[in-house]
């Protein structure tokens, strides 16, 4: 599904990624952990195509195709979804209108007509129930005045509506109380299938109790320095990151 080969990236002449490799196959869940400043969010933004970052070496393949030259919307059309750590507030655009526009632009890119209103309504109903979202919530301005938990739940709601191939959840657990965490994780688990893949970026093991990863990677100083199974996350929770730094020396 996603294959990142020897990726180097800089922003304002500062090296952020320094030879990163990652191979994510369909049906898998990967967790990326690591200390602050290791480059976790940068990796998410680079996969999504944020333009401030310059890829100086290496490439990003999605289903065998190099996507590193594509614009963010073209990557989205190819099935990349990023749940933002800090979702942006857009006053004046309702959640419903925003997601409708997004779905129809994705369809337009595939040469399809707009989704019929009846199907759209059905989908909205189904997915808002999945994320336990109130109907009134959908007519509010996107993310404006939402609590931290509401913003994250809304991200996963959009993910459910768009049904991406590769979902990257950037710190989706931050700002969530335990009930919201359960709802969000439950949503992600329901959407998981053998045809899609999920990358979970997190500081803490907490979310991984609900979304169980097949692989756990430790990102440190712009590279993946250790890979293991779900038990690695527990070990990190217990021992912190210092022992990994020690190992590297």
């Amino acid at each position: 599904m996603l294959k990142i080969n020897n990726l180097y990236a800089v922003i304002d002449d500062k090296s952020i990624l320094k030879g990163l490799n990652l191979d994510v196959k369909a049906g898998e869940v990967h967790a990326i952990m690591g200390p602050n400043g290791a480059g976790k969010s940068t990796l998410a933004n680079i996969i999504a195509g944020k333009e401030e970052y310059e890829v100086t070496q290496g490439d990003i393949e999605l289903n065998g195709e190099d996507i590193s030259e594509l614009s963010p919307d073209e990557r989205a059309h190819n099935g990349v979804f990023l749940s933002f750590q800090y979702p942006v507030e857009i006053p004046g655009v309702s959640v419903t209108n925003f997601i409708k526009t997004a779905i129809n632009e994705n369809r337009k890119a595939k040469g399809l007509e707009d989704m019929p209103a009846k199907d759209m309504l059905k989908l909205l109903r189904e997915k808002s129930e999945l994320l336990e979202i109130d109907r009134k919530f959908l007519s509010r301005s996107l993310n404006e005045g939402f609590s931290g938990g509401e913003k994250k739940r809304n991200e996963i709601f959009q993910m459910a509506m768009l049904d991406p191939k590769l979902a990257i959840l950037d710190e989706t657990d931050s700002g969530l109380d335990i009930d919201a965490l359960r709802i969000v994780a439950n949503g992600v688990n329901k959407l998981k299938s053998k045809d899609n893949a999920v990358i979970v970026i997190t500081h803490y093991q907490r979310l991984l109790e609900y979304i169980v990863p097949d692989f756990v990677h430790v990102l440190f100083d712009g590279r993946i320095v250790k890979t293991g199974d779900a038990s690695l996350a527990l070990e990190l929770e217990e021992k912190g990151y210092d022992w990994i730094k020690q190992e590297l020396v």
């Binding site: 989205a76 990023l82 933002f84 942006v88 004046g92 925003f98």
Partner: protein, 437 residues
């Protein structure tokens, strides 16, 4: 000959050519003397610091187009809100077009200024209202001196006008350059309600200068919704002078949509002469090229317990320039005034300019007055967020701009008009987006 001299020299011939009564003649003469003294405004005047009429005034304007020009409805249908039934008062080159109009005298008067000024049955209204609230400044005086035609609307007590009224001025440009000076008088009596849409449209590439004056009188409990659509072609300039007199408990809203033209100057003046009055001033400006739009607003709070709400949004592309000069005066007696003013601007290009100047003159001590003014670019993070969800950059920008203008659009009370304005905005942004905000 300069335009000022040309206007002064033609005055006698002009007055000889029309019906007149003595009272109006006296008002005109005085206004002409006033204009002669003041001349056209220059950038030396504080109020005109950012807007220069110099290049426009160099045109050799035909000042009294006297040919009867006719146009086919099919050719101009698109300038009307045509999908609903409306009253229409339509002028071509300053002359009334009975063919394009749909006026009434049935329980109210929706008709012509020229008849109101000359017929005795309107004498009382003219005596009470005509030129009573208009400021005696340079351009308004010029309009008054040559007053002849325009819309005359009188809505008696308790009448709720069942459909909107459209006032449209077309210019055909059979002359090289045309100047017209329409004059509208709108009197809305107690507890009456009316919706009015005003538009000025040039059908030519030749230069056009419109200097229009509109006086609106809103009696107790009256309700007036006024919409100005300014989407003219690149050689047409508009100076709009609007004066509104409000009495106790009345609500008057003016929405100004400025999407095109050469130089557009809006002098919008509200005078609150009673208590519990609400004055609403809203505007959306989206311009490009070398277009220039100047909003000069005044809300004068004279009595206690009144409100005013101003919300102006501007989007400036290419080398366009904008001005927002919003003045709020709160008299010493006007306690418990709530006055809000908001002016937000987005500069799309680094060559575009906006000059924003809020002016609050508050002489009362128990009031709530707020003003907020922002100038910015489109939010890069928001654009990336939208693109990440699959919305291409052009559509993402358009969506952000729509959302930006939406607080003004959502208070438009005529659905067909709102739809039309949405369409104009979509066309201006070059997108066809399948949402309706």
């Amino acid at each position: 000959m300069e335009l000022k001299e040309k206007l002064l020299a033609s005055y006698v011939a002009f007055e000889n050519g029309i019906n007149m009564n003595t009272d109006i003649h006296d008002i005109r003469t005085e206004a002409l003397q006033n204009f002669e003294k003041l001349g056209f405004p220059t950038k030396k005047l504080e109020e005109w610091k950012y807007t220069s009429l110099n290049t426009i005034l160099k045109n050799d304007f035909s000042i009294f187009p006297n040919k009867e020009n006719s146009i086919q409805f099919a050719d101009v249908k698109k300038y009307f809100i045509h999908d609903i039934d409306t009253y229409k008062v339509v002028f071509i080159d300053g002359k009334y077009s009975s063919f394009l109009s749909d006026t009434t005298h049935d329980g109210k008067d929706v008709c012509l200024m020229s008849s109101a000024l000359s017929k005795s049955k309107y004498k009382a209204v003219i005596e009470n209202y005509f030129n009573k609230i208009a400021k005696q400044d340079n351009l308004t005086s010029l309009n008054t001196a040559f007053v002849n035609e325009g819309a005359y609307i009188y809505i008696p007590k308790n009448v709720e006008v069942e459909k909107p009224i459209q006032i449209i001025n077309f210019t055909t440009g059979n002359d090289v350059a045309t100047m017209i000076q329409p004059r509208n008088l709108i009197v809305v009596e107690e507890n009456a309600h009316v919706q009015i849409i005003e538009r000025h449209q040039s059908l030519t590439e030749n230069a056009v200068l419109t200097n229009v004056v509109t006086e609106i009188f809103s009696a107790r409990n009256a309700h007036v919704d006024y919409y100005k659509i300014q989407n003219d072609n690149a050689n047409a300039s508009l100076i709009d002078n609007t004066y509104i007199d409000q009495k106790t408990n009345s609500v008057v809203s003016v929405h100004t949509f400025s999407f095109g033209g050469n130089i557009t100057r809006n002098n919008l003046n509200f005078f609150q002469k009673g208590e519990h009055i609400d004055s609403i001033l809203k505007g959306v400006t989206i311009i490009e090229g070398k277009q220039h739009v100047d909003h000069n607003t005044l809300v004068h709070h004279i009595e206690p317990n009144c409100e005013s709400h101003q919300d102006y949004k501007g989007i400036y592309n290419e080398r366009s320039t904008g001005v927002f000069n919003g003045k709020v005066i709160v008299n010493k007696e006007a306690q418990k005034t709530n006055a809000y003013q908001k002016n937000n601007n987005i500069l799309i290009s680094d060559k575009a300019t906006i000059n924003a100047k809020p002016q609050l003159e508050i002489f009362a001590d128990d009031v709530k007055c707020s003003h907020g003014c922002t100038i910015g670019q489109l939010d890069e993070m928001a654009l990336f967020y939208m693109q990440q969800r699959g919305i291409p950059i052009k559509e993402a920008k358009a969506l952000l701009m729509y959302a930006f203008a939406n607080t003004v659009l959502e208070s438009v009370k005529i659905p067909e008009l709102k739809k039309r304005i949405n369409k104009i905005i979509a066309a201006k942004l070059g997108v066809d987006i399948g949402f309706d905000l």
